[in-house]
Amino acid sequence: MDPIHQFEIKTLFPIARIGATELAFTNSALFMLIALTVILLLTLAATRSRALVPGRLQTVAEMSYEFVAGTLRSTAGSEGMKFFPLVFSLFMFILVLNVIGIIPYTFTVTSHLIITVSLALLVFLTVLVYGFWTHGLHFLKLFVPSGIPIYILPLVTFIEVLSFLSRPVSHSVRLFANMLAGHITLKVFGGFVTMLGALGVVGWLGAILPLALTIALTALELLVAFLQAYVFAILTCIYLNDAIHPGH
């Protein structure tokens, strides 16, 4: 009953070997493919009929579109809408991966730091490249807020640069840590149930409490899965807003 065991990456079949690096199709890649298939099926099947009065599936797709579009428009303005495909893909990908991970015996891809760091660096580099590409050196005004007395300006600039550089760290570790901690907690409470259940009839009565808690925690994890995908998406919007409108 090792609670860390669920995060183990298993090789399903090896693909190639380059030097000391082995490329393989793992359970992580499998669940990413499953998530991709779910998103594709959802969006393709929902937009197939394009009814004026939407059915259930079409409502889900329209709601997720409106939700992300509304978030992006309110934080980054209408100019931010050109980043809609990026934000929508990130939101749906993380949401579906998180929700699939709650199902027992599945693998949670977002509980691995390397995945979340890749996604966060993608956003960070997009902000950097787009900011310097459209605004040139004016992008650096992001670090020099206006209306600050000149004698504390160096300190404020230093803090702004530091907070900008720590963005990908907090952006990625937030998602990773929430998923990791939630799934470990679920497994620990599940372990209580099996340990008490091994004691016989008295243990079964005692196991009711951790079992109920496990169910409640699963519901909480469902909320966390959605909230973390939303937090990731809205932070992406806010960081993109800095690249679009760098002056404070």
């Binding site: 978030t71 309110s74 934080t75 720590s166 760290v169 907090s170 570790v173 937030r174 840590a177 939303y230 937090v231 809205i234 932070l235 806010i238």
Partner: protein, 75 residues
Amino acid sequence: MDPQAAKMIGAGIACIGMGGAGVGVGTIFGHYLAAALRNPSAAQGQFGNLIFGFAVTEALGIFSLLIALLLLFAL
């Protein structure tokens, strides 16, 4: 002291910092709820700001968790 034990103790101490983030996140949601009950019609428009404040505050707790994880698994 055994270096391994010192590492474990250090990781535990680093996690204390998350308590501060807990206080901060509680303050944010508490004040949001208090304000939302005073003016429920304006609450929906501030949801994005709520989540942003929550994320920025939580980031500081995450940094202390990161130190703990680094001590346990990386260093």
